[in-house]
């Protein structure tokens, strides 16, 4: 079943008084339970696309359908894990996790039960009463994932959530995220500029073309899980994506030199 459809999404940006096309007609179908990775050069508009799905930005034309219904605003059915976590420093870890539940008016006892479950899933139970400044960057991203999952969203949106992590922490979270995906059967859209992340995580990888950006190619990766960073069998996917992206980066620098 199709969970989310993006239909011909167009977005312009104002750059020094000139209108620049950021997204030039993006069309994408995401099936229920898909793990879709969007990979592309920096500045290609992949985060903008994610923000449009989240409802944080509006497209100039085109529409997003969730379960067949058009959406225009932000909603807890599409929770986002931000690059820097965006946890609230004034709240304890557990209160961060249940923030959205509180906004939805869910009673305290029920909130605690749900948040405890996700804290446990992310191995954060010990840190329930900590404040975010007491956590490492990796821990913060775990909290951010728990916070997004606690809303039991239709789709989990992830905007380069592991970009700021050291490689050991990242490898660990890459495996954990696959396990969580298998356990919760969530539909996930994950944006990254890191090719190996996209290969490890995605069952579909969408390669974004440079500005004006379009989807250049979709690669299906049907391979056992959990996939590990060092798995040599993933190399061919890595190289396929790398080739596609290389030509993009070359075209971009040629443009810049003109």
């Amino acid at each position: 079943m199709t969970k989310l459809q993006a239909k011909n999404i167009v977005k312009h940006f104002d750059h020094n008084g000139n209108s620049v096309v950021a997204l030039d007609g993006i069309t994408l179908n995401v099936e229920e339970g898909d793990f879709v990775c969007i990979v592309g050069p920096s500045g290609c508009g992949k985060s903008t696309f994610l923000n449009i799905i989240a409802g944080l930005e509006q497209p100039d034309s085109g529409e997003i359908l969730l379960n067949g219904k058009p959406i225009s605003e932000t909603g807890p059915d599409r929770t986002m894990v931000f690059q820097e976590g965006a946890l609230f420093p004034w709240l304890k870890v557990i209160d961060n996790v249940e923030f959205g539940l509180k906004m939805a008016g869910i009673p305290k006892d029920e909130r605690r039960e749900i948040s405890r479950r996700y804290l446990d899933m992310m191995q954060l139970t010990k840190f329930a009463d900590s404040y975010t400044y007491q956590l490492s960057t990796g821990m913060k991203q775990r909290v951010a994932i728990a916070r997004a999952l606690a809303m039991d969203p239709e789709i989990l949106l992830m905007d380069e959530p592991f970009a700021a992590l050291d490689s050991q922490t990242r490898d660990l979270l890459l495996v954990e995220l696959q396990l969580i995906w298998e356990r919760t059967k969530k539909t996930i859209i994950f944006v990254t500029h890191n090719i190996s992340e996209s290969v490890i995580l995605g069952n579909k990888v969408e390669i974004f073309k440079n500005r004006p950006s379009k989807i250049k190619k979709e690669i299906i990766i049907d391979y056992r899980r959990p996939r590990l960073t060092e798995d040599a069998n993933l190399q061919k996917y890595y190289h396929e994506i790398l080739q596609e992206l290389k030509s993009e980066v070359m075209a971009r620098s040629k443009d810049d030199l003109k």
């Binding site: 923000n51 989240a54 944080l56 932000t74 909603g75 807890p76 599409r78 929770t79 986002m80 931000f82 820097e84 965006a86 946890l87 609230f88 420093p89 004034w90 709240l91 923030f99 959205g100 509180k102 906004m103 939805a104 404040y131 975010t132 400044y133 916070r147 809303m151």
Partner: protein
């Protein structure tokens, strides 16, 4: 506060009192102009015992707190309005910048004409002194909220008033506390000034009474009390609050 610093400060204040006592004993300054530390201490003890000093402190603090609460509610509202609506910032914002430059004591004549020598008059001076500093700091606090906090709040279903109370105000707290601190300082000056000029109760009134009765011990003693309250509120209430907020927001190195 570490022990060494505490000893240093205690020694310093004991030193001041000693020098003061020496000056008094040598009659360099006439005793109508300078009481002895002992006279001041005795007077304050007497006034503490008969309840007149605690009453005066209570009255002044009550006026201050009521005024500050009004100024905080009003300042938050104005500041958020200015941050959200650019026209409000360009119009009301410019007026507030102007009004903020008026010293709190300058509001006293207006307070007297509008409210007479009443509690409301003193509270008006407190509000006028604190409101604008709080508005300005609220405005910059809201403007400086990292955009991802707002995005995250909206993403998890907060909107309208919910977003303001659950995300924007706490996110702006490091700025807001600066506003409250400034606001308190202006308000404290304002309440004492208003009491000196037109009130029949409070620390400012006791100060004025001392002047009327030519009682130098009273004037000196009340000045010391005003200073101590300032130190306590600044050093304990605000500094502690500020340190806690900065640490929690990850802003403290």
């Amino acid at each position: 506060m570490n022990a060494k610093l505490l000893y240093k400060q205690i020694l310093f204040y004991v030193g001041i009192i000693a020098v003061w006592q020496v000056i008094f004993l040598t009659h360099v300054v006439p005793s109508q102009a300078l009481p002895s530390p002992l006279q001041v201490g005795q007077l304050l003890l007497k006034e503490a015992a008969d309840g007149s000093l605690p009453y005066a402190i209570g009255v002044s603090m009550w006026r201050l707190v009521v005024g500050l609460i009004i100024a905080i509610v009003g300042g938050l509202t104005l500041g958020i309005l200015m941050a959200k609506i650019e026209t409000a910032n360009q119009t009301i914002g410019s007026l507030i910048l102007g009004l903020q430059s008026i010293p709190s004591v300058a509001w006293v004549p207006l307070a007297l004409l509008w409210f007479g020598p009443t509690d409301a008059g003193t509270i008006f001076v407190v509000v006028a002194g604190a409101l604008f500093a709080i508005s300005i700091n609220t405005h910059s606090g809201i403007k400086n909220i990292p955009p991802t906090y707002i995005a995250a709040g909206k993403n998890m279903g907060a909107s309208g008033l919910q977003l303001i109370t659950n995300v924007m105000i706490p996110a702006a707290l490091p700025y807001l506390i600066t506003g409250f601190k400034q606001g308190w300082a202006y308000a404290w000056r304002g309440v004492i000034a208003a009491e000196i000029i037109f009130s029949i109760a409070g620390l400012g009134f006791l100060l004025n009474l001392g002047k009327h009765n030519n009682d130098i011990s009273q004037v000196t003693g009340i000045l010391i009390i005003i200073m101590i309250i300032g130190i306590l509120v600044d050093g304990f209430v605000f500094k502690k609050l500020e340190a806690k907020i900065l640490a929690r927001w990850g802003l403290l190195k």
